[in-house]
Symmetry: C2
Subunit: 495 residues, 2 copies
Amino acid sequence: MQIKLKLHNTLTGKKEIFEPLNPTHVGMYVCGPTVYGEAHLGHARSAIVFDVIFRYLQFLDYKVRYVRNITDVGHLEQDADEGEDKIAKKARLQQLEPMEVAQHYTDAYHRDMELLNVKKPGIEPRATGHILEQIELIEKIINNGFAYEVNGSVYFDVEKYNEHKPYGLLSGRKIEDLQSGTRELAGQSEKRSALDFALWKKAAPEHIMRWRSPWSVGFPGWHLECSAMSAKYLGEQFDIHGGGMDLMFPHHECEIAQCEAGNNASPARYWLHNNMITINGQKMGKSLGNFITLQELFSGNHQLLEQAYSPMTVRFFILQAHYRSTLDFGNEALQAAQKGYKKLINALRILKEFNYEEQSENIDEKNTQQINQICDNCFHAINDDFNTARLVAQLFNLVKKINSIHVHQIALHSIENATFNRMKELFTRFTEDVLGLKEEESFDGKALINALLEFYKEAKAEKDYETVDAVRAKLKQQGIVVKDMKTGIDWAYEE
Amino acid sequence: MQIKLKLHNTLTGKKEIFEPLNPTHVGMYVCGPTVYGEAHLGHARSAIVFDVIFRYLQFLDYKVRYVRNITDVGHLEQDADEGEDKIAKKARLQQLEPMEVAQHYTDAYHRDMELLNVKKPGIEPRATGHILEQIELIEKIINNGFAYEVNGSVYFDVEKYNEHKPYGLLSGRKIEDLQSGTRELAGQSEKRSALDFALWKKAAPEHIMRWRSPWSVGFPGWHLECSAMSAKYLGEQFDIHGGGMDLMFPHHECEIAQCEAGNNASPARYWLHNNMITINGQKMGKSLGNFITLQELFSGNHQLLEQAYSPMTVRFFILQAHYRSTLDFGNEALQAAQKGYKKLINALRILKEFNYEEQSENIDEKNTQQINQICDNCFHAINDDFNTARLVAQLFNLVKKINSIHVHQIALHSIENATFNRMKELFTRFTEDVLGLKEEESFDGKALINALLEFYKEAKAEKDYETVDAVRAKLKQQGIVVKDMKTGIDWAYEE
């Protein structure tokens, strides 16, 4: 079966067949977090969506170089060109060095991503670690005539650039509309036009994060790092650039302009954007009080939450929707996701423990054919712009087949051997390798030890020494010793 | 009780009372890994030793800024000034971009450190992320007359420096001895003297990792990063600098020289060095075939290993020795550590579950006094240059007390209430917070479910429906459903 992978390219607005620049390798860049706060559902969605894309490209045997950055400087309040750096502000409030703040939230992000079973990118560059590369890119842009210096700061000249290449291609905006939509600068800004954006900012005296440059001691503009780092690690042209839809304008638009102006190349061939998460239909926002961090979700510790939701429940919830659709958070939806995840994992356990011994003489042709069709449909789903919603639906069709052979084992051997093996392999690989779902042992092992000890106590009281010995032996196999003391019965790890 | 913390300062060769520059804050810098291979026992020892120091300083209520770096450029083969970069070499062999190699082994290091319960440092700077800072430090050293440029490379002038400040203070070496001990350069080197070391190297054409500098497109010398990054994040003078004893010369000696030459300041007041791990009495080395990575230790997958050793067993093994002593690895020693670790953790479990209800009328004065003495001794041990070997011995004295009140509960209430509480708090904090040992649930939870299901089956066969219902109920409490099918009995996660 040969079905080609299609993906929706924001740059063209069309679904296109994926053709990498190099037939066996894929270069992919995704915008990572600005590390000044705990990760929330929005971070989880972007990370999980592109994780599945990364995983599926690897499933297809591409050698993928996946770069996801850490923004630890230059991202100012309100994504603006004036104002305080988000990380420096947090550092000021917490009386810490900015790099301690960045490290703390980078570590917290890594912890959450690991819980969500998000694979680590191959390279995770930090903006502060690439100041020289950013300075060099600014020099190229200035030399090509698309940026100007004012008082030690450097701005990108959008109008000048637009004479060369249209600005706004990605987001489908026209410069005339943008111009009429922006307020007059009224002389209080260094920028020639409100559309221009900062490449380098001279540091105000109170600004802690600062580096030497040909223009001033200062810091790079937020949009710059992604252009400099993607070019460094993936080349001036690469395959896929991803990020949340909220980054499409101006961030990604500016990235394209910087790369075109500096390297005379459009950086990525395919631009992919995941849609947003709403909370009970509303936009998520700190001021709206409906801002839920991942740690709050995992612990259930938030007024909007009826219970805790495990990382795999959250992951499954996100994958039940197509990445380009909006996704509304709510307790009911999460509870349904919890059910669905457990259904899938139960089927996975059954499948793994099944031994297909011998093909029956009476092949159930219809069932065999249905299973093959569902397997084909799994590929159709994921190849259609990574439609995990449809893939999950197809996997549930397989769950029905798996459950029925679990209950009526006779049905198992009436499936053609090759078809059974195909189902087993695909179900396992799609669930674990592509969707990245893994079994969460949600039970408390110590409670199980105590349950066994209760049988031990009862048996002892009834002088049923056979059972007493049996419990003792089973626990000993697990490195647990039963302690029979005058003061009671307890257990300990075998020393 | 007020006992002062003393530590052995390599710089003076003496045990000194610890007095931080700022009475409430401590700045500490420790040399981290060069990320071109899997972490081994040597990495574990250094990381765990300084983790305990970090933890104990926090226990003492210091606000600690702990910086541990990642070396991802500049560390050449044989720690030399000529030859291939360790990371670039690995990248060449694995056909990867150097930053992919660095990221891979950084992630692997983080994984292993997390397993070993090593706390993350507050800041973890990468050498490649601080090229500008390193260039600025070189400029200062050149301006002060202690470095010279040859063909685009810059070298530190050790003899010139020695006229200003003695070189070799840390390792106790004299420049005359060093000079007579080094081979003649015989004109094939750019260096004026064999003692000189590289601050900046012009990149050979095949060298991939390279940055622009005032002298050439090249890369920084290995020793430089620690001087630049410690000054950036801790200031030109800070409290503690740590690392393995193998780094004392030349690496740390060069760091001091660079800081003195560039900033006119001796960077750290206290230099701490952990001793090495030998394997069955031999030095560990790749060529000797006795090189054991942490992953091999944890899995038992190495010809020298009789079994797998859990991360906490390894951690306990390392803490059973004082950090300045050599430590010999062997199966017997590890097996003894496994026993010791479990003894400690069993006592911790007992202590946590104990309810001290009411003080008896007959206080056992002698026992109470002994317990107080042991608690005092714990402080004496750790305050004496972080002597974890002696601290562990004292904790085992408490284990005896804890076990005896476990078996004879009457003994518990005969200990003075305040003393019991002191023991409980100190034993818990020293074990968990300072030594960083935590309970490893070494049993297999699913095997326990299956053990319960066996009782279920038996009870069902014997029509003992009370037991059948009891097992079913206990498993349901843990979110496990028993599946009674024609084809057999199985369990599933409740959906």
